[in-house]
């Protein structure tokens, strides 16, 4: 099992870096090209959500991403240290219900629609979002 870990300060500018790293490792791990856009967007959403949560609760704390090649799956876990508010947004069809600020539940809905497999572990001390996609394995050369 190969693992890459990345920690970054809770700054919006770093979310793009996290997306790029995740996409590069997904490609290296053997995730199909057609799924890479989904990996990029889902990891970006998870990191954006974590950055917003940290900026509100603990701006000095870093956000951690773990990327693993695990038994034919490419698995990404994004961990934050902000207390979970467990906001669950229903399908946002009512314009009046939407705001132009970042919507936590909205981002989670996007992740759920993109990742092959998603688990969210909210706790009072932070949230882990684990996502995975099928992968062919690390090439030998």
């Amino acid at each position: 099992m190969a693992t890459v870990e990345l920690t970054f300060s809770a700054l919006p500018a770093h979310v793009r870096t996290a997306r790029l790293v995740a996409t590069a490792i997904a490609r290296r791990t053997g995730v199909e090209e057609s799924l890479l856009d989904e990996v990029r967007l889902a990891v970006g959403e998870a990191c954006s959500r974590a950055v917003e949560a940290h900026r509100a609760h603990c701006p000095g704390e870093p956000i951690r991403i773990e990327l693993r090649d695990d038994a034919g799956r490419f698995e990404v876990t994004v961990s934050d240290h902000a207390p979970s508010d467990e906001v669950q947004q229903e399908k946002p069809l009512d314009l009046g219900m939407l705001s132009d600020s970042f919507m936590t539940g909205f981002g989670l809905a996007v992740i759920s629609g993109l990742a092959d497999d998603v688990e969210v572990f909210p706790t009072p001390k932070g949230t882990d979002i684990r996502m995975s996609w099928p992968a062919a394995g690390i090439p030998t050369s």
Binding site: V15, R19, L41, K91, P92, L93, F106, G107, A109, V110
Partner: protein
Amino acid sequence: MDLKLDHHNEDRLTIVEVEGEIDVYTAPRLRELLIDLVNKGNFHLLVNMEKVDFLDSTGLGVLVGGLKRVRAHDGSLELVCTQERILKIFRITGLTKVFGIYASVDEAKEAHGKDK
């Protein structure tokens, strides 16, 4: 790639050209532009997304915010987008039912003209 923004007026439409990535870092610039356009009396906006490489829920939130602002003035905010990877996020969130989405600027202009 960073975000590039431009806009120009054609008849009663304000066409907003967006190029690059719209995410949690760059979306505030698009939000500021949309607010500025509305504050200056541009209530019929057409956002051309054909050169957008990446859009996340923060960007969607900004577009929704813009739509709410123009609707407060009986205006419109419509999109030009044919990229499947961008359209997918609109479908996942159900926002294809909220925005008018066209295949080209000309198609949007024609549809807009018929509404008048």
